[in-house]
Symmetry: C2
Subunit: 516 residues, 2 copies
């Protein structure tokens, strides 16, 4: 059976390759003559601040996306609930097509600290001749008719995560129209506006617009390509949940000389607690934390084993003398749950370092979940651990009575979070997808059981009952979520070709598996 | 011998009381008719930003102080070295006086974070009808002829630490002149400009101006009065040193999903290190840290035992369910060395909490030293501890080679710091001082072996060979070193009377001890 399946895969791959090659060539020709215009539309979108909590600006982003879809003949509308950032929805029917896919990207970005950005901040896009860490210098954006070197990078919040994906898929539509090509599947577009804030309203939007969002599959256009530069098709995403902890000290800041080592320092209490939660090797010391962790299947283990060796190159480029987990492979590590300390804030350091005992100490975590963990269970286990360290947990600012009663007092606020998602790696959709993506690139894509990052993929499967597969486009070293986020220009160009090959090739090859 | 000494003390106390009572009454009469003008001069001084690293503003402070001294007929000049904040020096000779004292205060303030201040920031003084934590509301500064309630407070950086002391001593001069009284000792004034930055140039200034600074004793006008509200005469100060630690992670910020639990998180490495240095009870876990600690003498122990019981009242007012050191008395705790975590900065929390592994993690500490500890020895012990936790220590930004060689890499930067200081509690100067201070207040002052806070007192004894005693004036709940620093108005009024009594009473009673 294995050899027959394999033969089928090769056959469909060849057919898709022929179709995809045409689309890919056409997309490249189109792009090469219009690089300035493509980057102009991109920087216009990047110039709009897009932190999910900043609703007025989020709405300006949504309005611009509506315009961009309509310009391409895509029927577009906003999907709204409550006071949440709207999702931008678009639909483009393909005459005769029997399959429908929805391309997902999010248009909101991670919170920003403008002081940490080189240049004029996260919403003033800059083109640089190469990556900053390689000594990249600012260069002007091209004038019409000029070309841009593929190693150049565009710096701005969401350049890679995910506004770049949006520009690439819309430019693929332009290229197809220009080349007289038509999508082979019905296309829908769903651009979420609060992914980086935890997707709190996504379920409500999906449930409310269930009919509108009918499709055979969702394609998640988010995340980086493999560190080797190869395109990857990713069948799973880790779940995520976030935690904000605040330990309370004296009600007034105190002089450390007059009260130090008498009044408890909330920063020390917090530090001791944080240190109790995780060891230097990344092992989470919360009791029973790994109980729900489903070990890898044989297929997943094989897929991981087949990925190119990139660890030592990355380690060197990051200046790391060692990695956690006894130097286990990165690809194996991200198959496990993770706890990340995303920040601590207590008092001040360096020029802000005053001799004070602070009133509050804050720590912030994200947890990455794998099948079969749930945010609810993680929350219960972590809170049990915190209690085992002698803390009394509150969910709001403590009262005077609570302060005077509990020597160790902590506020814990959890993000809603969501569980992990995994799609099948060998059904008809998976094979058709792999073939059409392969037609849009120089090399066959890598098949990856799960991405280290998270996305609310589980929800689509849970609410709409369809598979979700992720197609990342960004360079791996894109400073995703951090200052100086960037997209390598060649990755944008490659993505346009990949989307064109996918949109023209996918429907034709998407057949049921024939197993004799 | 004890009874004879005691008799002598009572005698001098009575004589000083008579003298001091006149001066005190005159000072009160003077102040009560000029409260608006006194506060006007005070707020003008407080409006000048005074962080020691801000040299242009520091010079504006020094220039204003020069003017204020000269207005009072005090011969004033700047004492300069290098590019450091200048010290402001003044001299006022008293005809016939045989003794000289120098009044010390610092005019620089702790670093500020304006966002944490209620109102318009640290350099926009605000008068409030009572303390903010008691629900204080802004009230206008008085017009000429209006009075201000003693429970009102002046909010601004350095209101209590130490610009308030400077205003009080200069107003005492005005009151004495207005009442036809003369100082009974030669007075010198020394206002330091970088005490809160570690007094790095103080030794050079003292050595360079040794002749100018000749005196029989230094009076340190810094710190808070006792929590009971009583004036205190403090014979010692703790030493201090500061430490900035930075742990290095990856050279680029990394997405916590794609690299979490593979790339070491510098925040976790730092947290684990900090937790290893001190336990929840304030005990410093650095090997041999307490070896140099000289236990209290019997006299010091008696003095501590004689202080009013204030612990439980303070504990309740601070909302603390417990204190460190197994609920030992505050007065006993500050006789010991202390290690205070003044801040940690890693990534972001709350709305700034991005899912990132940071490149650097910072922690900041102050250490309070007691006799016979030295900053040099503390540094050696702490660095040995850090090495014992597996860290490689650098003093500057690490090179690529250092990063790739050392799994745990830390930068440690130490402030120069200084040791503790203790004056004799029973010599002639001490007794005369206690008597004259007592004449300026309702109650006899408390005698305190050491203040929890620090000042470079040891230097004066070391360089100039004279005793140093501290006379604090601020309310204990003044938010010293923190946001919303404030001075209770009645403390300012009391200080004016205390200085007047001291300046007119001290010289007369300062006689050698007669021991038969």
């Amino acid at each position: 059976m294995r050899s027959i399946l394999l033969g089928f895969l090769l056959l469909t791959a060849e057919a898709a390759a022929a179709q995809g090659s045409d689309a890919r060539r056409a997309a490249r020709t189109y792009r090469e003559t219009r690089e300035a215009a493509i980057l102009r539309e991109f920087t216009e979108l990047l110039s709009l601040p897009n932190v999910a909590s900043d609703l007025p600006n989020i709405r300006r982003n949504a309005a611009m996306l509506m315009e961009m879809l309509k310009r391409r003949g895509v029927d577009a509308r906003l999907l709204e609930v409550d006071n949440a950032p709207p999702a931008v929805f678009g639909e483009l029917k393909a005459p005769g097509a029997t399959r429908t896919v929805i391309l997902y990207a999010h248009y909101d970005g991670q919170p920003v600290d403008p002081r940490q950005w080189t240049g004029n901040g996260p919403f003033s896009p800059v083109l640089r001749d190469k990556a900053l860490f390689l000594g990249g210098k600012d260069i002007p954006f091209p004038a019409d008719g000029q070309r841009v070197d593929g190693e150049a990078r565009i710096y701005a919040r969401s350049a890679s995560d995910d506004k770049g994906s949006i520009i690439a898929m819309l430019t693929a539509l332009d290229a197809m129209r220009s080349g007289g090509q038509r999508p082979s599947v019905n296309l829908k577009f769903f651009f979420e506006g609060e992914e980086e804030a935890g997707s709190d309203h996504l379920r409500a939007i999906l449930e409310k617009h269930r009919d509108l969002l009918k499709a055979d599959a969702w394609l998640f256009c988010d995340g980086p390509v493999h560190q080797s530069g190869a395109q990857q098709v990713v069948f799973g995403l880790r779940g995520v949940t976030g935690l904000e902890m605040t330990v309370f000290g004296p009600t007034r800041p105190l002089h450390s000389g007059h009260y130090g080592n008498w009044a408890p320092n909330p920063g020390m209490l917090l530090t001791t607690l944080v240190a109790s939660m995780r060891d230097d090797d990344g092992q989470i010391k919360v009791a029973n934390f790994y109980d729900d962790f489903r070990p890898l299947t044989a297929a997943e283990r094989r897929a991981v084993g087949g990925l190119p060796a990139i660890d030592s190159a990355i380690r060197i480029s990051l200046g790391l003398a060692r990695t956690e987990g006894d130097n286990a492979l990165l690809a194996e590590r991200i198959m496990r749950p993770a706890m990340n300390l995303r920040g601590i804030r207590v008092g001040g350091v360096q020029e802000q370092g005053a001799n004070v005992i602070s009133t509050e100490a804050h720590a912030s975590f994200d947890f990455r979940l794998v099948p079969n963990q749930t945010p609810q269970r993680v929350r219960a286990l972590v809170e049990a651990h915190v209690r085992s360290q002698g803390f009394h947990i509150v969910t709001d600012t403590p009262t005077v009575a609570e302060r005077q009663q509990h020597p160790k007092l902590i506020r814990m606020k959890w993000e809603t979070g969501y569980p992990a998602q995994r799609a099948f790696m060998d059904d008809a959709f998976a094979r058709a997808l792999v073939a059409s993506v392969g037609a849009g690139a120089d090399r066959p894509p890598l098949l990856v059981p799960t991405l280290g990052g998270s996305g609310p993929g589980y929800l689509f499967t849970e609410v709409l009952g369809v598979p979700v597969v992720t197609l990342p486009i960004a360079n791996y070293d894109n400073n995703q979520h951090a200052a100086n986020e960037n997209l390598r220009v060649q990755n944008l160009w490659n993505a346009i070709e990949m989307y064109a090959a996918l949109m023209t090739g996918l429907g034709r090859e998407w057949k049921p598996v024939v197993v004799p």
